[in-house]
């Protein structure tokens, strides 16, 4: 009896063992129900646009806007940046978001769209990539470019010289322009958050970026921008062509500045006194668009800014204004490139070329465009709490403004400085561009910046931001072999970028 029993048991176990190894279905539960392995190209586009807009208008504007003294935070990181105290780990998140977010998704979009034969998406991806690389290289200098976003081949990436990056950006823009016009692009719809499928506008945007990039080389290749203009490229022609990233008045969809100043509860930001004083002196119609009147306390309803680097606490919003509704409303858009900017560049180029008439026309177009833009975004809106209403800007207001001694082109002794000053005011929407201008144009032709209190750089304005700690830790060898590992508080003020010929 027992032998039979043992036999039965052995066969039972053999059966079980067999069952075990052949039960592949049993183990086939490893496909994630939470994610997808493939997505349609149309769904990849919105996050690329949104992420780029959020970080350009949010964190990157916070860093550079503090350097250029648009902002002067009173506590925490905004104060730290106002004191020019930039540490390697400060920009880790932003650097990572562009490379592993925007650029990686753009690479995926390009790849997918090539397979589905939709060149418009390929072109859009290229243009957005170019914009991202331009933003990064103007802040950091040499950056990974040719080996980036290719994890199959490169697990650490070499740093490309800025000159090579610029050449790559121009080439990318040229390819983008070609691709967005390759077919009728009828498949691009409202997933294109910027232009809703209007390829003509993408071409204008790309050309504006190209003009911007070439103008950055004014110290290296003084004629590049002018040569480009003489080819009569299709550029932005009105505010309707502006490259704007939309945000919406709903949770997890708000404008980044609004989130920082009003939703996060941090209460540590403030606008800068020097910028407020500048606009006050000019009687600028954008005053209430740019600055929110103080909400509480004795100064309620008035506008005041903080002196850069000063540590007076204002968590109660009793001392200093915050950024105004035109840039920080819950659904105020982010500006990636604008018609006003295009005209300012043309004005500068024409001014240098000695063409005063063209310069004046471009200058006046630019100022008008900026005033009109803001009026369209927030004209007539009311500030919550104080109830102060933002007056719309009429054509007469613009004419009056342009005629002022302090604003008029003809009345200016130093025309270039006049152009750069108005451009500085308009670039409140793109502080990183203002920083490029400041480094490029130099003190003589640019509005003055003050020495921030308690600054960490011995009164020197930074020429770049230090490379992120992530790069030092994870890509250190390439960093060392390329631009070098940044020395805290030193490199950012002593090592200028390639186009910033000293």
């Amino acid at each position: 009896m027992t032998t039979i029993l043992y036999k039965r048991i052995t066969s039972l176990f053999l059966l079980l063992a067999l069952a075990t190894s052949s039960c592949d279905d049993f183990f086939d539960v490893n496909e994630s129900p939470n994610s997808l392995t493939e997505v349609p190209p149309a769904t990849l586009l919105p996050p690329i646009i949104s992420t780029l807009g959020y970080y350009a208008y949010g964190n990157f504007s916070l860093y550079t806007g503090s350097i250029m003294q648009y902002y002067a935070g009173h506590r925490g990181q905004p104060l730290q940046y106002a004191q020019l105290d930039f540490r390697a780990s400060d920009t880790d998140n932003s650097w990572s978001a562009i490379y592993s977010g925007v650029l990686e998704d753009a690479a995926a979009l390009q790849q997918q769209a090539t397979v589905t034969e939709q060149p418009a998406y390929v072109g859009i991806a290229q243009i957005l990539k170019a914009n991202s690389y331009l933003l990064l290289t103007d802040i950091y200098g040499d950056i990974p470019f040719s080996q980036a976003n290719n994890i199959d081949e490169f697990i650490t990436t070499e740093y490309d010289a800025q000159e090579a990056v610029y050449n790559g950006i121009i080439e990318m823009l040229n390819n983008g322009i070609e691709n967005v016009q390759a077919d009728d692009a009828s498949y691009v719809g409202d997933e294109d958050l910027i232009y809703e499928g209007d390829m003509d506008k993408w071409v204008r945007y790309a050309n504006t970026l190209k003009l911007r990039a070439l103008n950055h080389l004014s110290l290296r290749q003084p004629n590049a921008a002018q040569e480009f203009l003489s080819t009569n490229p299709l550029l932005m022609e009105s505010n309707a062509d502006n490259a704007l990233v939309p945000f919406f008045d709903d949770v997890n969809q708000y404008n980044p500045r609004y989130q920082f100043d009003n939703v996060s509860g941090r209460e540590d930001a403030a606008v800068s006194e020097t910028f407020v004083n500048m606009l006050t002196a000019l009687n600028d119609p954008r005053f209430l668009y740019y600055f929110e009147p103080i909400r509480n306390g004795d100064l309620e309803g008035t506008v005041a800014g903080n002196y850069p680097g000063d540590t007076q606490d204002d968590s109660g919003r009793e001392r200093f204004s915050r950024v105004g509704l035109s840039l920080a409303g819950p659904d105020a858009p982010a500006v990636l490139a604008s018609y006003a900017e295009t005209q300012f560049i043309i004005a500068e180029v024409m001014q240098r070329a000695g063409n005063a008439a063209a310069a004046q026309e471009a200058y006046e177009n630019a100022v008008t465009a900026s005033l009109n833009y803001h009026s369209a975004v927030a004209g007539g809106a009311t500030y919550p709490g104080t109830g102060v209403e933002i007056p719309e800007i009429s054509e007469d207001d613009i004419a009056t403004y342009l005629a002022q001694q302090t604003v008029s082109y003809s009345a200016a002794a130093n025309k270039l400085e006049r152009i750069m000053e108005q451009k500085y005011i308009a670039l409140y929407t793109m502080p990183y561009e203002a920083w490029v201008d400041y480094r490029r144009v130099g003190d003589a032709n640019y509005p003055d910046l003050v020495n921030p209190l308690n600054n960490r750089t011995q009164n020197r304005i930074p020429l770049r931001l230090p490379y992120p700690q992530l790069e030092i830790d994870l890509n250190g060898v390439n960093l060392q072999n390329g631009p070098g590992i940044p020395v805290p508080n030193e490199t950012l003020v002593t090592q200028s970028l390639w186009w910033d010929v000293q």
Partner: protein, 1028 residues
């Protein structure tokens, strides 16, 4: 020939007798004829009858826990025997893997045992905390003193770089979940206090705990055994059943709780951010001296300045009440254990509480061949648990830096218009606001159950089957009122979580002795099937419409809902062979083959063997004598491993959402437009399982009649092919990729020393010391990568694993130093930091792992009075006190008191240039005011301390009333025990301000940093136990 026949006929006769111990008949004693397998078993009264062949027959009497006895029959027909308790020659039984009971003597690996009584007397609300200091090699780290807050336990250091390093928890053969949800994935900087789920087990139900410290011990669990296992056995009622009685047990405990330690504060200076100038609304206390001067307070009133104590204004006395009622009984064929338990804790933080209710039934019925049993445990727990860490709703964060000039209780927390009154702005709330206007309420229902069936074919062959499940459902609701710092428009969120584990084990076992009693053989073959599922849904809304209505319908904005599901399956076939030779040499061999659904098809199956040898050399060579009465040598080697997390194999896209560290960011769909983005972690379709190889050698020695016991073990564990998401530069397009790489080596020594200096009939004194020293080294990560991030803040400090260093390094900003290591001070007279230490670069500031840990327990017993106390200690390793750093920055810490006397920082200054530095001793006199503490708070190194501490962990004084008291009128009362009890009574440490046992990062791998953790609790109280 006739004579021979007559002789043998005469010889074959019946012998009977009674076996007693302690004056009582002992049932179940094995009575055997030595050298044969013939024998019988004593009955309920200890009587036996046995046929013996002749006068020279030797009868052996054996029973677990008692010394064996051999008696030659002679010409007696009645042989009575008295057995005496075995003096710790390791015949006691421990529960090993898969629920198998083995005699400790036969084990070739180290097992730590803790009795249920020791667990119960620790009065800990969490069984993991109760293990602290009792078993060598076990390191318990409590996350903090919040009610219901979890604790982390590791056995012998770390084995996985970023994966789970905590052991398996098994209760009555059921593998249960020890998840710590709410602190998501261990690297989160905010979260809520949530228990580790093993804490659901009612400590009163526990009969014993076996700690299987390494893979050798837990080899039968295969993949899940790499970190060892904690085997909990709950009460069965067999004791009462054997006595044929019904035992009723009632215990009630009540303790008051207070924070064990609060930081030291300065009581001189008022609120203000600019030296000696008073201002409202700032987070800092660098204002003027408090001298009764008039000032305008936050309410706009003109009042004189006074010194308050915000800490004692807010903190209250908490309490813990534990009540337990249990029934145990049965007869010779069955036994049962039924218990009901209630544990109610009120926190020292107002408004926070945590309750746990448990019900358990364990029952078993046996016939001659068949056994059927059930274990069923229902637990309901929940409460309103505190927010943690860097969340603005963590009341400790703002409470700890409330200026002493601020009347926290007097000013109130809410104005008539509903807005918040607070001493500071930003996203940190007034602690009273957090207590009254925010909450995290949760309710958890859990059922752990098993059905056990067994069939004995004969005396040797047995088939067992166990089907068990662990199902848990948790619902939580968090709420922040309009006006909360971090949620100005209010927020309400619901999280629903479900975990389920189903497990089936079929085991065939065979034991027999061969060659007389020379060889013993125990073998088993098992088949295991396992499935684990997890699902989570969350929804949240903000912007309340109607005040006071706490429902998601009342929100005008809904966040994008989240859904996550996970499922994994495992199948294993395992076997074990135990060979014993003459009861002093034992060899155990195991093998297990696992198939896991989380690995790719080609790598799905893997085999793990182990071997261990136990040699009781005193028995072998008959050393004997009482000076050295027992010695055993053990050796073992084992290989186990780990599989991957589910869904690790391919690159994936998910609904796009991002946030930038300052704000919540964007989550798609936006304005109705969907968006998908590539995940930042690149999956790997070629992933292999991890391999953990463990070698162990040890001795168990007994001296002086076991009055001195010494167990020592040396182990070496090598973990290779570790699966972890390697950090890579994001310029590759991904922040991490999943790889098999890296090697962790762990070496250590564990010692357990027991002393019994006094043992008389009235007085007994036992001392037990456990000590362990573990070194885990990161030998290798992957080519090109020198360190990976384990946890912490993403900047400063972060906890990393670095090649060539011990596992867990604190990396943060350091002091700038000269080539001789002296602190460098700013020598530029125009600088605002003139004379202050300079900030250096990011460096490694110390390893996290302790150098050694241990516990010392003393137990004194005089007649009915028992005094028990346990010290827990740790030396070495480092901790960063973020609490101290911030309290210094805010100017509330006692060290910031001296602001008006000039000091010279101990260091050097550079009087040369940057080309030709010339370092001379520092002579710059400075005042340590707002700017100074700002500078120092940017130097992480300034607040990294060696993590040494000694705690008086438990103290129990109890008195068992003499049975004579109730012998007459209350005969049904078996015993009454009254005790005074205390937990976490005293702390001695060099680390300032905090209890260094806390952790800012939950129970995950990123330990070594503490920043506004909830202070641990000191509990004092009493309990009474009545047994019927």
């Amino acid at each position: 020939m006739l004579l021979g026949l007559i002789t043998s006929a005469w010889a074959q006769r019946t012998v009977s007798g009674k076996v007693t111990a302690d004056g009582e008949g002992l049932p179940g004693v094995a009575v055997r004829i030595k050298g044969t397998s013939q024998g019988t078993v004593t009955d309920m009264d200890g009587n036996y009858r046995l046929e013996v062949p002749g006068n020279n027959t030797v009868i052996t009497f054996t029973f677990i826990g008692y010394a064996d006895k051999e008696v030659t029959v002679g010409n007696r027909s009645v042989v009575d025997v008295v057995l005496s308790e075995d003096v710790e020659t390791l015949s006691e039984v421990v529960v090993t893997a898969v629920g198998i009971e083995r005699e400790q003597k036969a084990l070739g690996y180290s097992v730590g045992s803790v009795s249920g009584e020791a667990i119960s007397e620790s009065r800990s609300t969490n069984v993991v905390n109760a293990l602290s200091g009792k078993v060598a090699g076990v390191q318990v780290t409590s996350s903090g003193g919040g009610v219901g807050q979890g604790a982390r336990v590791t056995l012998r250091g770390a084995r996985s770089l970023t994966g789970n390093n905590e052991p398996l928890f098994v209760v009555d053969g059921i593998i249960i979940s020890n998840a710590n949800d709410g602190n998501s994935a261990s690297t989160n900087v905010t979260g809520v206090a949530q228990p580790n789920r093993a804490a659901d087990i009612n400590p009163e139900d526990i009969e014993s705990i076996s700690v299987l410290k390494g893979p050798a011990a837990a080899a039968l669990y295969g993949i899940r055994a790499a970190n060892g296992a904690i085997i909990i056995t709950t009460k069965t009622g067999r004791g009462a059943a054997k006595r044929g009685e019904l035992d009723i047990d009632f215990t009630s405990t009540y303790m008051v709780d207070e924070p064990l330690r609060l930081p030291d504060y300065q009581n001189t200076y008022a609120q203000g951010s600019q030296d000696f100038v008073y201002s409202n609304g700032t987070s800092r206390s660098f204002g003027p001296r408090i001298e009764g001067q008039m000032h305008t307070n936050v309410l706009g009133q003109e009042v004189p300045m006074r010194v308050y104590d915000p800490r004692s204004q807010f903190l209250q006395t908490g309490s813990t009440a534990i009540n337990n009622l249990s029934f145990a009984g049965g007869d010779e064929k069955s036994n049962f254990y039924l218990s009901l338990g209630a544990q109610n804790q009120e926190s020292y933080l107002p408004g926070n509480y945590f309750d746990r209710y448990t019900a358990r039934i364990n029952a078993e019925r046996r016939t001659e061949r068949f056994t059927a049993g059930i274990n069923l445990n229902y637990i309901h727990s929940g409460g309103n648990t505190p927010f943690l860490g860097q969340s603005g709703s963590n009341p400790i964060f703002s409470l700890f830096h409330t200026p002493v000039s601020y009347d926290l209780a007097g000013y109130g927390y809410q104005r008539e218009d509903g807005s918040q009154i607070n001493f500071r702005g930003g996203s940190f709330d007034n602690p009273f606001w957090s207590a009254n206007n925010t909450y995290y309420k949760n309710a958890n229902d859990r059922v752990i159950g098993a059905v056990n069936l067994g069939y004995s074919f004969n005396d040797n062959l047995r088939l067992d089957y166990r089907l068990n499940t662990d199902v848990m459902n948790e619902e939580s609701k968090s709420f922040y009122e309009v006006g909360t710092g971090g949620w100005q428009n209010g927020r309400i969120a619901y999280d629903d979580l479900r975990r389920q584990e189903i497990n089936s084990d079929l085991i065939l076992g065979y034991d027999n002795n061969f060659g007389g009693d020379v060889f013993s053989f125990n073998g088993l073959l098992g088949w295991n099937v396992n499935q684990r599922t997890y699902s989570y849904e969350g929804i949240a809304g903000t912007n309340f419409v109607v005040p006071g209505f706490e429902n998601i319908d009342n929100t005008s904005s809904k966040e994008v809902p989240v859904e996550t599901d996970e499922r994994r399956r495992l199948m294993g076939v395992y076997g074990q062979v135990d060979l014993g030779y003459k009861n002093y040499l034992f060899l155990t061999l195991t093998g297990r083959n696992d198939w896991s659904s989380t690995l790719p098809v080609e790598e799905r199956s893997f085999f793990y063997p182990s071997a261990s040898l136990a040699f009781a050399f005193t028995d072998a060579f008959d050393f004997g004598g009482s000076a050295f009465n027992f010695g055993k040598l053990r050796l073992s080697a084992a290989r186990t491993g780990n599989d991957a997390a589910p869904y690790s194999l391919s690159p994936l896209f998910s609904a796009a959402a991002f946030s930038d560290g300052f704000t919540d960011g964007i989550a798609f769909p936006v304005n109705g437009v969907p968006g998908y983005s590539a995940n930042d972690i690149l999956g790997n379709p070629n992933i292999k399982p991890e391999t953990v190889t463990n070698y162990e050698a040890g001795v168990d020695l007994r001296f002086l009649d076991s009055r001195v016991t010494l167990d020592a073990t040396y182990f070496y564990t090598k973990s290779t092919d570790l699966i972890f998401p390697v950090d890579i530069t994001p310029t590759t397009g991904y922040t991490n990729y999943l790889a098999n790489a890296g090697q962790l080596d762990s070496k250590g020594l564990e010692v357990a020393l027991g002393l019994n200096p006094i043992r008389t009939s009235d007085f007994r004194w036992d001392v037990s010391l456990v000590w362990s020293r573990i070194r885990t080294e990161v030998v290798e990560i992957i080519e090109g990568v020198d360190q990976i991030y384990l946890g912490g803040f993403s900047g400063d400090p972060s906890i990393q694993a670095q090649v060539g260093q011990r596992y867990g390094i604190i990396r943060g900003t350091s002091y700038q130093r000269d080539p001789n290591g002296n602190i460098l001070v700013d020598s530029d007279p125009t600088s605002t930091t003139y004379g202050f230490p300079l900030i250096g670069g990011t460096e490694s500031l110390g390893h996290v792992e302790p150098d050694w840990t241990g516990g010392l327990r003393n137990s004194l017993n005089f007649k009915g009075i028992e005094l028990d106390f346990l010290f827990d200690f740790r030396k070495g390793g480092y901790i960063w006190s973020g609490t101290s750093e911030l309290l210094q920055f805010y100017g509330v810490a006692a060290v910031t008191e001296d602001r008006e006397n000039p000091v010279i920082i101990d260091g050097v200054k550079n009087v040369g240039g940057s080309e030709n530095p010339n370092y001379v001793p520092n002579d710059i006199a400075i005042f340590r005011r707002a700017n100074y503490w700002d500078q120092v708070s940017n130097i992480t190194e300034a607040n990294v301390y060696e993590n040494n501490w000694l705690k008086l962990r438990e103290l129990n004084l109890s008195y068992s009333l003499p049975s004579s008291l109730f012998a007459n009128r209350f005969g049904f009362v078996r015993g009454v025990k009254i005790s005074l009890t205390g937990r976490n009574l005293a702390l001695w440490t060099n680390v300032p301000d905090i209890d260094p046992e806390g952790s800012a990062f939950g129970t995950g791998n990123g330990q070594g940093a503490s920043r506004f953790d909830l202070p641990s609790s000191r509990s004092v109280g009493g309990s009474i136990r009545v047994q019927f």
